[in-house]
């Protein structure tokens, strides 16, 4: 197990290197002169030159990347073009908001998804199963930003039950969390159902039933426990959807998280901030996947390391 963790950890190093290279390259993918665009269309040549100098764009690419990496290792993500503050200072107060939003939504996804999936599997081909699976299909065919808008209209405006925007009180949290969690719940429900059905047809479930165990014990103790293993991998993928989904949901509900900061920075052509946020999101996601792989391995020791 320890060996697995170490190997898996080492495997992420080239990925992280690749991610930094891609994030670094972003600014060079800008059609035209990035310094001109960040300084503003009408900026005089002197200002543009100053911007170029400030971002180090005059140096050869490999020197730029080397400098980028060495700052990165010291926790320096560069400077915001808009506020001249370090990018890290811009992002830091917002990271936890976004991570909380994503984690709470994940919890909602898992609970709703598992319950719906198990109920569907137990009542397979029944009316309840059909209804739940149709709802799940809608759930992941729906753009989350639209669901958010509809919830604001219905719950906040028409029924005046919850605040339409902001973040801080638990009332403000409910709608964004439901909005973000719905798509994930739908996918987990489908995955749980199919995984449960696979398990229910296994020999050892028949044996458990033949032993005279209560149906509830068979389903929850023997069935669900084994059915959960493949579901764990979906949770990892889900976390990626949730993390990036915060960009849309934070925009809809005016939550001051990292996602909203990203959109503000894009609108202001503040590329160092955009780069920083993209990098942080990717690093969080890489870490989550590492955790998921390790827990998957823990849950299912039969998997051999490639």
């Amino acid at each position: 197990m320890l060996q697995f963790i170490v190997i898996r950890f080492i495997q992420t190093i080239p990925v992280i290197l690749g991610v930094t290279l891609l994030v670094f390259s972003l600014i060079h993918l800008i059609p035209g002169d990035p310094a001109q665009i960040m300084a503003g269309e009408a900026a005089p040549e002197a200002t543009v030159e100053a911007m170029r100098e400030r971002l180090g764009l005059n140096d050869p690419l490999h020197v730029q990347y080397g400098r980028y990496m060495s700052s990165l290792l010291q926790g320096d993500l560069g400077q915001s073009v808009r506020t001249s503050r370090p990018v890290m200072d811009e992002i830091q107060p917002r990271i936890m908001i976004t991570i909380r939003l994503a984690i709470y939504s994940m919890i909602v996804s898992i609970i709703l998804g598992l319950v719906a999936g198990v109920v569907s599997a137990v009542r397979r081909y029944g009316v309840l199963d059909a209804t739940l699976m149709l709802a799940a299909l809608f759930g992941f065919s729906m753009p989350n930003f639209w669901l958010g808008l509809m919830l604001i209209k219905l719950v906040s405006i028409d029924l005046a039950l919850l605040p339409p925007s902001g973040w801080g009180t638990w009332q403000q949290g409910i709608l964004p969390i439901i909005t973000l969690g719905t798509g994930g719940a739908a996918i987990i429900a489908r995955m749980t159902r199919s995984s449960m059905l696979d398990v229910i047809n296994q020999d050892y479930i028949r044996t458990a039933r033949a032993k005279g165990l209560k149906e509830r014990v068979v389903i929850y103790k023997h069935g669900l426990k084994n059915a959960l293993i493949p579901v764990v991998t979906v949770v990892g993928i889900e976390m990626g959807m949730l993390l990036s989904g915060t960009v849309l949901v934070e925009t809809v509900f005016a939550v001051n998280g990292m996602g909203r900061l990203a959109i503000d920075a894009i609108r202001a052509r503040d590329f160092p901030v955009v780069q920083g946020i993209v990098l942080i999101f990717a690093l969080i996601f890489v870490a989550v996947n590492l955790l998921v792989d390790i827990s998957y391995r823990y849950l299912n020791k039969r998997i051999e390391l490639n």
Binding site: V19, I30, V278
Partner: protein, 297 residues
């Protein structure tokens, strides 16, 4: 139940079944009602995209403040937006944009991802390692984020959305194709063909490609649904199609400020997105069942 082993097994079963059984697949697909509904809906949407605009009576772009924010009526079936434009007309005109982005971006992802997967699975070794590390890097960006990052530097336009969503679709194709190629190239008859002196190119095009078509088609169908969702999200954020283009995500973005008093401006573009995405998901589900009845995710 190892994921990889499971996938390989499926692929082998699929490969043995072969793609010569198109008739069987068609029969299975016909029995699957939800898939049929999805298929017919997609067909209908394509027709609407192609000839729908010819039948609309209103102008999708002309601003007319005298008809501003009207509720649905017999004149304006789904009401009008803040610029007095008929929403139904705009949705019909937007259909081709939505499908164009969906199909083309997935095509871009397929054209790059499929060869990557074949090379990786067929040649293995160093090439496999390099290609799969690239795929890992692309997958390290959660969900829509890579597309957002690309569009933010390239600039907001329909073509840039297609590029961004296309790049986002590459790893999905590369991974699936690598897995199936790996499984197929281990089959005995491929060994036999190779022993007969067939070139790699011949083996890939005549023997491997036909065997991996079905997972590619399933993947493409589901990817179109995701691509449409992501593209509408980009436009909603103001990073994709720009006003006054009647792109559905952009319509939602603009309708947002007016939806509290006039919910129809946000309701209908969203429903349009849901319906189209749903159709592709239904069809994709059905195709997967038809190609391989053993997987029922």
């Amino acid at each position: 139940m190892s994921d990889l082993a499971h996938g390989t097994q499926d692929a082998q079963v699929q490969a043995v079944k072969g793609s010569s059984n198109w008739y069987l697949i068609y029969k299975r697909l016909k029995k699957n009602k939800t898939a049929l509904i999805g298929g017919y809906l997609i067909f209908f949407f394509i027709i609407v995209a192609l000839i729908g605009p010819l039948f609309t009576v209103h102008d999708p772009l002309r601003v007319d403040y005298s008809t501003r924010l009207l509720p649905p009526s017999s004149d304006f079936w789904l009401g009008t937006d803040h610029n007095g434009r008929d929403i139904f007309t705009r949705l019909i005109h937007g259909m081709s944009i939505t499908l164009y982005i969906g199909f083309l971006s997935v095509f871009v992802g397929m054209v790059i991802g499929v060869p990557m997967g074949i090379l990786s699975g067929y040649y293995g070794k160093l090439l496999d390692t390099i290609i799969m590390r690239i795929v890992d890097v692309l997958l390290a960006f959660p969900g829509i984020l890579l597309a957002i990052a690309l569009v933010s530097v390239l600039g907001g336009s329909i073509n840039n959305v297609i590029i961004a969503v296309g790049v986002f679709s590459i790893p999905g194709f590369a991974r699936i194709v690598r897995g199936t190629t790996l499984a197929v190239s281990k089959l005995e008859y491929i060994e036999a063909v190779r022993a007969l002196g067939a070139s790699d190119l011949r083996i890939i095009f005549l023997h491997i490609l036909p065997n991996i078509v079905s997972p590619i088609i399933v993947q493409a169908t589901i990817r179109i649904a995701i691509a449409i969702l992501i593209a509408s999200g980009l436009s909603f954020l103001g990073l994709g199609a720009q006003p006054p283009i009647p792109e559905w995500g952009a319509m939602l973005s603009q309708g947002r400020s007016y939806m509290f008093d006039h919910p129809h401006v946000a309701l209908f573009p969203g429903l349009a997105i849901v319906t189209v995405v749903l159709a592709f998901n239904l069809f994709g589900d059905g195709l997967r069942d038809a190609f391989d009845p053993r997987t029922r995710v």
